[in-house]
C-alpha cells in the first residue's frame, strides 16, 4: 500500500484536534457530541458524511453480508396465532403480527440491488486514494455525527500506524505500548498495515484500563498500540461521563466495547452479529483469560500496578485465545451456550462413566473424557456442585484449552486452571493426558482441588487406562462418529440444532444441544460459515431484548430456516429452499420424534457422581476461604 503523504488529524473528545505532526489545536465544535452510543447509518447514502464514513470504514475492513438492515425483516415471517398450521404449533405465541405470512418474492432482486450498491461504494474507495483524500474528507466532516466521528477515529488510528510508520511515536492520546517486547514475542507477525489485516471479519483486542495492549487477534499487539490507545481513549472518555460506550454501528462494522474489571475488550466486526452476541463473545475471551490467571490475581495485579504489562503473564497463551475465537466463529456451542457431546450408545457411555467413577482419589472433583474435541462423559464429585449447574462455558473453555494446544500431546500434564463461571477466583489443578498416543484423539481430564495431588491423580489415570483396555473402550470410541441428518429421514431437512432446556435425568446439570454434521451443501468453510451466520441471525431475532420471538420462518435465498423456542426446547432448522411451510412443520414433528427416540444416545443422561473428597465444595467454592489458591501462582512476587 502506498505510503500516505501529508498530515493527519484526529479530533478528540475534549474537542482538541491532533495533527500527527504533533500540533494541537483547540476546536469546540465537538464538545458534548460524543455520547451518541448507537448509530445505525443507512448504507451508502449519497450524503457526504455517510460516504466519508463508508470510506473511512472500508479502511478497517470489508463486509461479508451484502444485505444490511432492510432485507432482514422483509424475509421474515412470523407465524400467527390465528392460523396454527399444525396442532404441534398450537402453543406458539406469535408476537409479531405485522409481517405477512408469505415470503417476499422479490428478495433476491433486492439483495442484488444492494450488492450493486455496495460494490459501488467499494469502488468509491478504490478509486479514491485511501490515504489523503479520505483523511481530508473525514476531518472536514468531523462534526456531522458523533458515531461517525468515533468510527472515523478508529479508522484514523489505523492510518496513523500505516501512516507515517514512524516507529516509537505513540498515540498522543495515551502512551500505550511504547515499550519494547522481546523479539520472539512477535510471532504474530502479520503486517498490520496490509489490506488483508483490515479485511478480517472480526478483530478482537484486549487492553488494560491504563491502555496497555494485552491481546490482538490479528497482528501483534505492539504494532497496534496506537489503535489500542485510541480505543482506550474512547472508552475512558465515555466512562468519565455517565455514558458507557457499548457499541458503535456503521453500515459495515459493529464495534463493541466491554469492560470487565481492569480489562477492556473490543470487537470490530463485519459479521452482522448483534451487539449482544458480540458482547457474549468478548465475554468468552475474558473468561478464557480468567481461566489462565483468575479474576482475583488480575485485580490484585492491577491494584498494585495500574501500568502492568499483562502480556508478561499471557505470553505463550495467545494461541489459546486465537483458538477460542476461531471456535466462537465456527462452533454453535458458544452461540447456544450449551455443550455438544459425542453421540454414543448409552451402554458404552455408562460404562465409561463407571470407569471414571471408580478411579478416584481425595480432592478429585471432575473426571472428564473427551474424544474428537467433544465431550464423551463427565463425572463429578457429589458435593461439589450441590445446587448449581456446571456452566457450559466452563466446559467450552476447557475443550478449547485442550484443542488449541498440541502441548498436551506429550507426557502427562499438570497445570492450574480456573473455571471462571464456577469460581473465578481460584484454581483447580488439571491432569491432562491423551489415552491414545500418537493419534491423540481421546483425552482424559481430571480436575483436583489439591495442587500436590499429581501422583495420586496420575494413578487414577492408570486405573482408567487399565479398565478401558480391559473393555476395549478405545476401539469402541474410535468407531463413534457424529451423525448425519439423513438418519432423521426427512428429505428437505438439511441441518438442525436442538437444545432442550433440561435433559431428562440431567436436571440442572449441564445444558446440552445436539446437531448433525454439516454436510453438503454446507461442506465448504464458506458455506458452513454462511449457515452459521443465518443461525446467528435467527438466534438474535429469537432472543431480541426489545421484541423476542417464539417462532420465525425465514425464507432466504438458498435455504429456508425455521427457528422455534418453547418452554422445553430451542430449535433451529434449515431446509432446502423449496420446502413449503406445511412441509417444514411436518418435518419438525418427525424430527422431534426422532430426537426423543435417540435421546439416550444424543445426550449425556444420568450423570454419575462419586464421593471421596472430605469437603471439596468448601475448598473450591469457598472463594474467600481459599484465596491462597490464586496467590499461589506466585504472580505477585513478580511485580
Amino acid at each position: 500500500m502506498a505510503k500516505p503523504s501529508g498530515r493527519y488529524s484526529t479530533r478528540h473528545f475534549d474537542g482538541t484536534k491532533t495533527d500527527w505532526d504533533g500540533i494541537m489545536e483547540r476546536d469546540n465544535h465537538q464538545e458534548g457530541e460524543a455520547q451518541g452510543v448507537k448509530i445505525c447509518d443507512p448504507p451508502c447514502e449519497s450524503n457526504p458524511p455517510a460516504e466519508t464514513l463508508a470510506t473511512s470504514l472500508s479502511l478497517l475492513g470489508n463486509h461479508m453480508f451484502p444485505d444490511p438492515v432492510e432485507s432482514k425483516d422483509s424475509n421474515v415471517t412470523t407465524v400467527n396465532k390465528e392460523e396454527p398450521p399444525d396442532s404441534l404449533l398450537s402453543d406458539v405465541t406469535a408476537e409479531e403480527k405485522s409481517l405477512d405470512a408469505e415470503p417476499h418474492s422479490d428478495h433476491v432482486t433486492k439483495l442484488q440491488t444492494e450488492e450493486t450498491d455496495n460494490s459501488e461504494c467499494q469502488n468509491n474507495v478504490s478509486t479514491q486514494p485511501p490515504d489523503r483524500g479520505t483523511e481530508d474528507a473525514a476531518a472536514d466532516n468531523d462534526q456531522s455525527d458523533s458515531g461517525e466521528f468515533v468510527v472515523t477515529m478508529l479508522a484514523k488510528a489505523k492510518l496513523e500506524e500505516q501512516g507515517i510508520g514512524v516507529k516509537g511515536r505513540s498515540s498522543p492520546l495515551l502512551e500505550a505500548g511504547t515499550q519494547e517486547y522481546p523479539a520472539f514475542m512477535s510471532h504474530r507477525d502479520e503486517d498490520v498495515t496490509a489490506d488483508s489485516w483490515r479485511q478480517h471479519r472480526k478483530h478482537v483486542f484486549v487492553l488494560s484500563e491504563a491502555g496497555k495492549p494485552i491481546y490482538s487477534r490479528y497482528g501483534s499487539e505492539e504494532a497496534l498500540s496506537s489503535t489500542m490507545g485510541v480505543m482506550m481513549a474512547l472508552v475512558s472518555f465515555v466512562q468519565s461521563g455517565d455514558n458507557i460506550i457499548r457499541s458503535v454501528y456503521s453500515e459495515e462494522h459493529t464495534v463493541v466495547f466491554l469492560q470487565k474489571g481492569p480489562l477492556v475488550l473490543v470487537c470490530v466486526s463485519s459479521s452482522r452479529q448483534t451487539e449482544q452476541q458480540l458482547c457474549g463473545e468478548l465475554l468468552y475471551v475474558y473468561y478464557q483469560i480468567i481461566s489462565m490467571l483468575t479474576q482475583a490475581s488480575i485485580s490484585r495485579i492491577f491494584e498494585h500496578k495500574k501500568n502492568y504489562d499483562l502480556r508478561r503473564l499471557l505470553a505463550g497463551s495467545e494461541k489459546i485465545l486465537d483458538g477460542l475465537l476461531n471456535l466462537v466463529d465456527s462452533d454453535p456451542s458458544f452461540l447456544l451456550a450449551a455443550v455438544h457431546c459425542l453421540p454414543l450408545a448409552s451402554s458404552l457411555r455408562d460404562n465409561l462413566s463407571q470407569i471414571l467413577q471408580k478411579a478416584i482419589t481425595p480432592n478429585l472433583v471432575f473426571s472428564i473424557l473427551i474424544a474428537k474435541n467433544q465431550l464423551l462423559t463427565i463425572v463429578q464429585e457429589k458435593t461439589v456442585i450441590e445446587d448449581t449447574r456446571l456452566e457450559p462455558a466452563d466446559i467450552h473453555l476447557l475443550l478449547n484449552l485442550i484443542g488449541a494446544s498440541s502441548a498436551f500431546q506429550a507426557g502427562e500434564i499438570w497445570t492450574p486452571i480456573c473455571l471462571p463461571l464456577f469460581n473465578p477466583d481460584c484454581y483447580f489443578y488439571a491432569y491432562i493426558s491423551y489415552l491414545d498416543p500418537p493419534e491423540c484423539t481421546v483425552c482424559l481430564l481430571l480436575l483436583s482441588t489439591d495442587k500436590e495431588a499429581f501422583y495420586a491423580v496420575a494413578e487414577c489415570k492408570r486405573k482408567i487406562e487399565e479398565a478401558m483396555m480391559a473393555q476395549n473402550s478405545l476401539s469402541l470410541i474410535d468407531k463413534v462418529h457424529s451423525y448425519s441428518v439423513s438418519q432423521v429421514g426427512v428429505s428437505d431437512l438439511r441441518h438442525f440444532m436442538y437444545k432442550p432446556f433440561d435433559v431428562p435425568d440431567n436436571y440442572r446439570q449441564l445444558t446440552q444441544f445436539t446437531s448433525p454434521e454439516m454436510e453438503a451443501p454446507y461442506g465448504s468453510e464458506e458455506e458452513k460459515m454462511r449457515l452459521l451466520d443465518l443461525y446467528r441471525y435467527m438466534h438474535s431475532r429469537i432472543h431480541s431484548t426489545s421484541r423476542p420471538l417464539k417462532l420465525i420462518y425465514h425464507v432466504a435465498e438458498r435455504e429456508t430456516l425455521l427457528a422455534w423456542v418453547t418452554s422445553k426446547f430451542e430449535l433451529y432448522t434449515c431446509f432446502s429452499p423449496l420446502v413449503t411451510k406445511a412441509c417444514a412443520i411436518t418435518a419438525i414433528t418427525k424430527l422431534l420424534r426422532w430426537i426423543k427416540k435417540e435421546e439416550d444416545r444424543l445426550f449425556i443422561r444420568y450423570p454419575p457422581k462419586y464421593s471421596t473428597t472430605p469437603n471439596p465444595s468448601k475448598s473450591s467454592r469457598g472463594g474467600k476461604s481459599d484465596q491462597q489458591d490464586s496467590t499461589d501462582n506466585g504472580v505477585l512476587s513478580l511485580l
Binding site: P182, L313, E466, N633, V635, S637, L638
Partner: protein, 263 residues
C-alpha cells in the same frame, strides 16, 4: 496385565527449569524421541518417565512462562537433579535463572545436583552445527555404559563472540559465554550453602547443547543420570522393607511447609 497399564514407579526425579523459549521441551524431545520438531510453549508441567537401565527416571518439563511460576516449587519437590536451562543467544535467559528459578529449588532434595545448560549452541558454535543424531543405536540400551567419547563440553569449547551477531537477518540478544555459566554455577553452590570442594565441579556440570542438531544432548542427560545413580540406590535400599515404592513419598511431611514456601 496389559503393557501400558503396568505401573512404572519412578526411582528418581529430574526437573528442567528455565525461561520460556530456551528450548527445554525441545531438549527433552530430542533426547526421548531423537527428533527436533516444532514445539508449543509448555502449559504447567509435563511429566515423563524414562527407562534408564533397570531404573525409572521421572522427568518434569516445566513451563518457563511467568504464568506458571508458582508451580515450580511443586515440580521441584524431592528432585534429585535440576537442569537450569538458558539460551546461549539470550543473556536475559541466564539472568532469569538466578532471579526466578534458583529459589524454586528450595524444595529439592538436600543432595540434589545442579546442571547449567546453554541450549541453541548451534547458533553460536560451528561445532554444534553438526548433526549428532547418528547414535540412534544407543537409544534403548539396557545397561549403563561408560561415557562415550564425545567431545568434552567446556574445555574444548571456544569462547563464542560476546557481541551480538546477526543471524539470518535477526540481531540476536547479547550472548552468554561458558564462563558466565560457570560463574552462575558457583552462585548456585553458594545459594545452596554448598562447599565448592565437596561439590561436583563446574566443568562437569556446565553444558552447551543444541536440541536442533542433537549436540551434547545425550551427553547431558546420560551424565546426569549416572550422577543420580547413588541417589537411586540409596532410595531403593531405604525402601527395602516395603517393596512397593510410594509414588507420593516426596510429598508427605513436607507438604505444609512447601505450601507456604511457594507463594
Amino acid at each position: 496385565m496389559p503393557e501400558v497399564s503396568k505401573m512404572k514407579k519412578p526411582d528418581v526425579k529430574v526437573v528442567l527449569l528455565g525461561d520460556m523459549n530456551v528450548g527445554k521441551t525441545s531438549l527433552l524431545h530430542r533426547y526421548m524421541e531423537r527428533k527436533f520438531k516444532d514445539t508449543i510453549s509448555t502449559v504447567g508441567g509435563a511429566f515423563f518417565l524414562k527407562q534408564w537401565g533397570p531404573y525409572n527416571i521421572s522427568i518434569w518439563d516445566t513451563a518457563g512462562r511467568e504464568q506458571f511460576h508458582g508451580l515450580g516449587s511443586m515440580y521441584c519437590r524431592g528432585a534429585a537433579a535440576v537442569i537450569f536451562t538458558y539460551d546461549v543467544t539470550n543473556w536475559q535467559s541466564l539472568a532469569e535463572l538466578e532471579e526466578r528459578f534458583l529459589s524454586l529449588t528450595d524444595t529439592a532434595n538436600h543432595d540434589c545436583i545442579y546442571a547449567v545448560v546453554g541450549n541453541k549452541a548451534d547458533i553460536t558454535d560451528p561445532k554444534a552445527q553438526l548433526s549428532q543424531d547418528s547414535d540412534v543405536a544407543s537409544k534403548d540400551r539396557t545397561e549403563i555404559e561408560e561415557e562415550r567419547t564425545e567431545p568434552q563440553v567446556l574445555s574444548a569449547c571456544p569462547t563464542p563472540p560476546a557481541s551480538p551477531v546477526s543471524f539470518s537477518g535477526i540481531t540476536l540478544h547479547k550472548q552468554v559465554t561458558p564462563e558466565d555459566a560457570v560463574a552462575f554455577y558457583g552462585r548456585i553452590l553458594r545459594y545452596k550453602g554448598l562447599e565448592e570442594k565437596s561439590s561436583l565441579p563446574a566443568e562437569k556440570m556446565c553444558f552447551e547443547t543444541s536440541a536442533k542438531t542433537g549436540y551434547n544432548v545425550d551427553t547431558l542427560f546420560e551424565a546426569l543420570f549416572d550422577l543420580v545413580l547413588p541417589s537411586i540406590l540409596r532410595k531403593r535400599s531405604e525402601n527395602q522393607e516395603s517393596p512397593t515404592v510410594d509414588l507420593e513419598e516426596c510429598r508427605g511431611a513436607s507438604n505444609k511447609r512447601a505450601r507456604s514456601a511457594c507463594c
